[in-house]
Symmetry: C2
Subunit: 338 residues, 2 copies
């Protein structure tokens, strides 16, 4: 029998909490008997949701927490003062090895702060990057780092490349993932100071398949599998991806609704279009992992539905079963700097 | 009668040179008797193209140039050594006030280098930014800077905000344009070191309508009219815009072609869809200006067609007639730095 994987799920985080969060947890345990979910949150509300479903009772436990961290709260302060919040209680369980991983759709800032200050970094990891998967023409790519710590150093980016490769190979199942550094031109001499300093370090870094620079234009075309960047740039890529896609699809919809003729056409194309656009979506792979922490911390988006939560929990299972953190411990070497 | 505006057009730059370039020049002079175009390039090839059209002969002059700068050439070296190239000859004409502006679809790098080293900066301008217009749900926004000089300083960004405001107000015709700084969160304390240092300077900068930070997600939704950023970030935004849009439209097309039913639907929606997507396009406003140079330098994209070239020439006319460079001279004050 497979080893049990214990996943804390922050039942109070996100726009659809606790309803969708609890539903996602139920879906996950119904799929895999090896999963043990610990729901942190207001007991009464969580139990009321759980009562709606049939599932193996021994696979879901509820840990009552009085407090909730709201999205608008300053993260450092929230994590420090709200010790009884669903997020902080859950992170402490991971810290004390009472759980292997935590999934939350709550405040990004609080998740990043909690991951670093409560769960803590693996020895040797300089900075834990947040690494969401983004859809491409060819499948998905890992965008590492999109976190809260900007102004990174070259050595951080080298570790991002290493951790990103391990994740893509073992969790997403992509053999020998192509690693590229986000840049404004394809040539080695292009870029800002950080990129120029990092490029030679990546070239000589063992254990990764470094293919050079990638321009932002090539990201959606699937030009690389692991896209290394500092968090400010990563954040821009991630958010612009969403912004351009939603604006463009709104434009397409506007076009479809603009005449009787186009409305009839829209009815005919709807199922096929829906199907193709579904393939341009990375949510089946779960949420964004904060890599390099002593347990796995997964941030799923604020409007996460049950399916997103379920997939994030399954992602934690693969992460644990593939021994990702052991692999990170093994491979992260401090690169020589400048 | 309106004052004559003399525009050099690099007849050899871009994928469609000289055919589309010459055609664009003809279209421009046929629209406006105040335009004087100087086509720089291989005389024989340019004259052969001109011979195809009817236009007021006195409005187009051809200046023969032996050399052409290719896209792949290292720009600094190309500008230095190819003195007889269509681009360098044209830039020297602007420098010597034999022309008011130059339009080129050639090598971006060479245009940026030539603009700075040959045409030269207006006294007081620290760095000339390349400022393309990008389409938004509400119209267009100016993305300033997308140029070649990365690792900018706060004082550069303040000047970008000032020049961008002047351009949007007087060339694009947008009253009191909203200026925002590209950031990874909406709050003032968010951002990297550059953004944090620049934010307070923008807040106290007179003559601009500063509205604070903008997240990349809000750019396509039209959250600001002038988006201030350093060139590395600007380049990412510009190229990702193109990349996501082309990938997504390819996905839509793939969906439309996936079944007989959807193919019939596609025929019905095609005209309406084309019309709406046309509104998500900034090319009617011309190319990207390199602002703060002693004449106007306009970079239009490498695959520019006659219409793009024509619009870029018309943009030079507005630029001159609105006295943009006088306004830049008047308003650019050296901001106080921390």
């Amino acid at each position: 029998m497979a080893e049990t994987v214990r996943v804390v799920v922050d039942a109070m985080g996100g726009d659809n909490a606790p309803g969708e969060i609890v539903k996602g947890a139920v879906e996950a345990v119904n799929l895999d008997p090896a999963i043990q979910v610990i729901l942190t949150g207001r007991q009464e509300a969580v139990q009321a949701e759980l009562a709606k479903y049939t599932y193996p009772k021994e696979q879901i436990e509820v840990v009552h927490c009085d407090e909730v961290i709201e999205t608008a709260e300053p993260p450092v302060n929230a994590v420090r003062t709200k010790k009884q919040s669903s997020l902080v209680v859950g992170m402490n369980m991971v810290k004390h090895q009472e759980a292997d991983a935590i999934v939350s759709a709550g405040s990004s800032g609080a998740i990043l702060v909690g991951g670093q200050t409560i769960v803590g970094r693996i020895r040797g990891v300089e900075r834990p990057p947040l690494a969401p998967l983004i859809p491409t023409e060819k499948g998905v790519a890992l965008l590492i780092d999109c976190g809260a710590n900007v102004d990174a150093r070259p050595s951080h980016l080298v570790q991002f490349a290493q951790m990103g490769s391990i994740y893509m190979e073992n969790v997403v199942g992509m053999k020998n993932p192509r690693v590229a550094i986000l840049n404004i031109g394809a040539e080695e001499e292009k870029g800002n100071a950080l990129v120029k300093d990092t490029y030679p370090l990546l070239k000589e870094c063992p254990g990764i398949n470094f293919i050079g620079s990638i321009e932002a234009r090539e990201i959606p075309h699937g030009g690389a599998d692991v896209i290394v960047c500092e968090a400010f740039a990563g954040n821009i890529v991630l958010k612009l991806y969403e912004g351009v896609a939603s604006t463009l699809l709104a434009k397409v919809k506007e076009g479809l609704m603009s005449s009787l003729r186009s409305k009839i056409g829209a009815l005919l194309i709807k199922p096929a279009l829906k199907q193709t656009l579904k393939s341009f979506d990375a949510s089946q792979y779960g949420g964004a992992p904060l890599l390099g922490c002593k347990g796995l911390v997964v941030k799923t988006h604020g409007s996460a539905t049950a399916g997103d939560v379920r997939n994030s929990i399954l992602q934690c299972v693969t992460f644990k079963q593939q021994g990702i953190n052991d692999k990170i411990r093994e491979h992260i070497c401090k690169p020589k700097e400048g």
